[in-house]
Symmetry: C2
Subunit: 347 residues, 2 copies
Amino acid sequence: ALAAPNLASAQPRIRWRMPGSFPKSLDTLYGTQERICRRVGEMTDGAFQILPFGPGEVMPALSVMDGVGSGTVECGYTSAYYYLGKDPALSIATCLPFGMSSRQLWSWLQEGGGRALLADVYRDQGVMAIPAGNTGAQMGGWFRREINTVGDLNGLKFRIAGHGGAVLQKLGVVAQQIPGPDLYPALERGVIDALEWVGPYDDEKLGFQRVARFYYAPGWWEYSPSIDLMIHPAAYEALPNHYKAILEAACTEAWHWMMARYDHLNPQALRRLVAQGTQLRVFSRDILSACYRAAQDLYAEIGSSNARFRRIHAEWDKYRVEEVQWFRLAEDTQANFLGLMAQQQQR
Amino acid sequence: ALAAPNLASAQPRIRWRMPGSFPKSLDTLYGTQERICRRVGEMTDGAFQILPFGPGEVMPALSVMDGVGSGTVECGYTSAYYYLGKDPALSIATCLPFGMSSRQLWSWLQEGGGRALLADVYRDQGVMAIPAGNTGAQMGGWFRREINTVGDLNGLKFRIAGHGGAVLQKLGVVAQQIPGPDLYPALERGVIDALEWVGPYDDEKLGFQRVARFYYAPGWWEYSPSIDLMIHPAAYEALPNHYKAILEAACTEAWHWMMARYDHLNPQALRRLVAQGTQLRVFSRDILSACYRAAQDLYAEIGSSNARFRRIHAEWDKYRVEEVQWFRLAEDTQANFLGLMAQQQQR
């Protein structure tokens, strides 16, 4: 039953700005940023308004964490691993090569103590963070020639950033960092031999299928990268408790809305790409094993000079292995059987 | 910046009751029901209060949909497939044997048109529904003897309900419906040879490991059953828009909180069960294939006399197959490789 308005819990008007790191052309990533703002408005009857901005409108794409930390803006939509140069532990919050699936990462962050472990890492950067997006498993990228052996990686000019690039360098890859808009011409002209971006839906928009024939899976360096809403702690503390609850809920919605968008759009895009002649390939077991070993070496190296990374990584890895063992039994047996049935139906 | 309270958007006081179908002893399922109520309260500063009730407190466990439909209560927490006797299409909303993974189902419901397709089905029962929970992949249950061949299913007295039971009956299983509290003594005394419940965490509480040795995977009849918040349409329409938005957000949180709880708790419980002597088994490819074919026969039979089931099932199945093909490439290749690595680490 409806009753008289409750004046005690009236809605204070609050206005925040939210710059982000993702181009407005990506309706998946930027679309999720917009959605958080819209949903917070809807849940507060318009009283708490957050304005989304694209890269360069308020600050550059990769200055978002700094802008939030300094209090220039109240919050920002970005991924912690962009800033791993400041602290390698930031990439544990996003994804590490050969990391967790989106569901495993969600479980670790929310129930397995992950957010508590990472709070320290964010605090050093002057921010707090709420997990607010995930792309799911990314693809391994576009290659102009096939990669059949570990030796084929040697000398490969591959656009790949972050810890994934560091792992591949151990196997002779020439890892390059090239901004999104310059990728297509670089691949077309052979400045690079290969590149990785996101997955079928986002990749198709940039047209890589026209300049490279082989599309590899899996993107083991970005199994399920997550995106954060970073918040300036003083701005957060000034919120009434029910706005804090609403912000948390909007971020949970955002994480799973982005998942659903990618899960919905990627299969359609993949079908279109294959129809245009894209050749799908899966990295061989040998290549994956060599990369996996190189990744473990990298984690040991970083940990040897960074005790906090070592400690959080150890917790993360223990959790990950237990999750994998359980998923193998109940989830993967079904996924693999149904995969086989789908393949037979297709024929 | 904080400003004066906004009287225009003050919070009307509303009080609802939410009976549910899940025993209070299950902190996963009943715990999620409680959580929705708590979160709606937190997001409205206490103005919108929903009181959770266990089975039998307001109405019996399996009368929840009827109670919501008749307007006896404003909402209820239950699963649509409990009511498949009224309409077999209700089980598409929860899960069908050999159905979708939790992420695939979430994508179909939220982005693939699933909720729109099912709205009709719910409307016939006098309710509307918001997806508000998912257990993830369940186990195949507890068996007193090994099931090695399709022939071993013949005559097996198995406690299994719903469409899963109907599929297994085609292979000679004697499907039985026995309420939760009676399961342990029935299995102990050999009244039944096997039973299925949920998964390691919930099953361990009921002690089945003490009366059956073999714990099978996967629970192909409940890959990822979802739980609904069913709502009486007139009660919903009486809500201010921002309360509708908050209710939707609380249900999204609930779905993924339940997932995270199960993903967090099941691996630990599985380890304890194995330490107590439980033997893990996976149904053979032959058994799964025979059951898969029997399931397709069942869907054809139901569809032959029920055009709406046939139409929704066809949409659902087309979506499912496309999802499976995409997941095989990007997600499953990683899951399977990491499963192999985890197995090697364990040795």
